[in-house]
Amino acid sequence: MGTIRLSINRRTLIKSGVALASSQVLGAPFVVRSLADEPIKIGMVDPLTGVLSALAQSEVDGARYAEAEINKKGGILGRQVQLLVEDSANDVGTGVQKTRKLIDRDNVSVIFGDVNSGIAYAMSQVTNEKKVFHIVPGGHTDPITGANCKWNVFRICNTTTMDANAITPELVKKFGKKWFFITPDYAYGHTLQDAFIKALKKAGGEFQGDMLPINNTDFSATLIKAKAYKPNVLLNNMGGLTQINCMKQFTQFGMQKEMALGGALFELESIKGCPPDAQTGWWTMEWWWNQPKVPEVVKFVSDFRSARKKTPSARDWFGYVAMHTVRLAAERAKSLEGPKMAKALEDLELPPDVALQPGKVRYRAGDHELMPNLFVGEVHPPKSEPDDLFTPAALVPGEEAAGSVADTGCKMVEPA
């Protein structure tokens, strides 16, 4: 074996000296800070890249807007709030890793996320294990507040069942009972289609459908199949960019002349991504900005527009509600501990300036699902202004669309 030559020359000595000194400077501020000055950290994991990126970005925008608003009014429990955003890249493994990172390294008190239901569920396994309070702003599949409900998980957006139940009677009444589904092949698509089929069978209807990959780009084969089936309604259950592609190809085929179009969700971000002739159909909207009769909404929309230079969508509202939910829960519990916040939030009613819609909106204690109104109506090309793309025909109360807690299959297990 050779000899060890660990001679240190002048340059190495100087370099290591500089490195050591700089590490002292960089490391010091973290040590001396006291807890009271330390902001409350909230971690958000959302698919900022991938097919759901536009929706995810809106949720982040809404949460950032609320962050500034809360901090201006003195923060939560007297401490400032800091929102840390991580990209899940629409990949479950990455989402789980980022959740661990936020909890283990950044010591966040609360986790938000994800738009993708599969990731949201995988994240909830981590947050539940670590006993961290978790809000799912926009992942729709039923089990999150149904069969897989957890004491630490609350959800703002509707379940797929709620969205399907709200629009089904309208579609059956207006167009008929023969339906064709175009559905993405993952948890969200499956539960959504199942919910539709359940509601449709109750009305005595029949259906056919295709399951497609979540990031599918070419719909021609499926659309030809749909054309041959001659349905009354074509239900586009895809999400994000995939839904936009499907809408474009649908209108390019000229199929809007042969059948009606509809589905559970066609979000503002997606509608704006479509050309005018593809801005069509009957849909459920989970929150809508144009509510001239509610003064809180009018004020919120004008403030949000001047701060963020865009019209708030349902996703912006999800992010906004998520941040304020943390504030409300922490102030009621006077604590940031997961179990206490979860207890405080059960059956908590949102104040009008957070709910931003008529009626009472509360987190149901039995399954931790928010019970807002569902806006059912028609999507159309811009009318009075560029973002006037949807006209609600009816408001369906959340409780009515959701059914009872027993129906959801949720059995809440309290923390040990």
């Binding site: 000899t3 493994g93 890793q97 283990d104 092949d185 948890a187």
Partner: protein, 332 residues
């Protein structure tokens, strides 16, 4: 070549004296790895990140037996990694609540799949070999993707978790995923790497290098080239599958992207970036890759551009990889 002199002095022989003897290197590497839970949080890291480095490092080192030591490029090793992960996950979910059994079955599933598939493709070379491995890998990806009832489809396989390991009278509880689980990962990693090191230094390892350097000449020396490549492929699949089972345990979760060819590409990037002609290179590459991904992706959604740029810089300026560079300087 000179790049090996630094890290594999024993393999090359006593022709050159490295700057730092091999045993000092080894002690340093293991000391750093064992002490991770104590120094990583001080630098703003977290232990789960180190676990991820070990898992990807082991997978890349397994691949490197084929890529760096045999000179055969596989672009489908994620398939065996993912099969290991699914094998472990499915065992824990459907068969038995036993971590060692899950690891064993996962490793066997991935390794045997690789062994059988290897039989079919050992006669292919270069880009044809690589294309076959991609195709076979994607086959498993779509199987996991579309078999919703069994594998959970796109959303991944869930509802399983690490189980405590019984060792006679003692029980090793690794369910909470803290430092104890890291040391468990490190122990498995150490065993696997030790085995890999023995293989590389064995006569078998020497024949692999002979094939890499000059296949025709190796054939003239009566080395059964096809059989050796097949063995190398299947052994590397076993190691990658073992890493896959650890990945499933680390996340309590397995998803189809663990089978996707993009992950195979990342493994190759790790090997090349760290230095594929060196034993420890892939671990260095995995460390750089995982840490960069973790840090940069918090700041920008375009983190892949940065990893790509660094990869290009490494290939341009350190064509032997980060560790290959060190070896060359050491021998000068």
């Amino acid at each position: 070549m000179s790049s090996e002199a630094g890290t594999n002095a024993a393999v090359v022989g006593a022709g050159r004296t490295p700057a730092v003897p091999r045993w000092v290197m080894l002690i340093a590497v293991w000391a750093i790895l064992i002490a991770v839970p104590y120094w990583l949080p001080l630098l703003g890291g977290y232990t789960a990140l180190a676990g991820r480095v070990l898992v990807f490092g082991l997978a890349a080192m397994g691949l490197n037996l084929l890529l760096g030591f045999t000179g055969v490029l596989s672009f489908g090793h994620a398939a065996y990694f993912g099969l290991g992960a699914y094998g472990a996950g499915l065992t824990l979910r459907y068969l038995a609540h036993s971590t060692p059994l899950a690891m064993l079955l996962g490793t066997l599933l991935g390794g045997l799949a690789g062994t059988l598939f290897g039989l079919l493709i050992v006669r292919r070379r270069g880009v044809y070999f690589a294309m076959c491995t991609i195709a076979f890998g994607q086959l498993w990806y779509y199987l996991a993707y579309s078999w919703n009832d069994f594998t959970g489809g796109f959303d991944g396989l869930r509802d399983f978790h690490r189980e405590p390991i019984g060792l006679g009278g003692l029980t090793l509880d690794i369910t909470d995923g803290g430092n104890r689980f890291y040391f468990f990962l490190l122990a498995v990693f150490a065993l696997a790497v030790g085995l890999l090191g023995l293989l590389v230094r064995s006569p078998f390892g020497h024949t692999l290098r002979a094939i890499r350097e000059n296949e025709r000449r190796a054939r003239f020396l009566a080395i059964p080239v096809e059989r050796q490549i097949w063995l190398s492929f299947s052994i590397s699949c076993f190691f990658t599958a073992l890493a896959g089972t650890l990945y499933a345990l680390l996340n309590n979760f397995a998803d189809p992207l663990a089978l996707h060819y993009s992950l195979s590409g990342y493994f190759v990037v790790m090997c090349v970036m760290g230095g594929m002609r060196t034993f420890w290179g892939p671990l260095v590459g995995a460390t750089v890759f995982v840490v960069l991904q973790d840090y940069i992706s918090s700041m920008t959604v375009n983190w892949m551009s940065f990893v790509g740029a660094i990869f290009v810089l490494v290939v341009l300026f350190f064509p032997r990889g980060l560790l290959g560079m060190r070896g060359r300087r050491g021998s000068a």
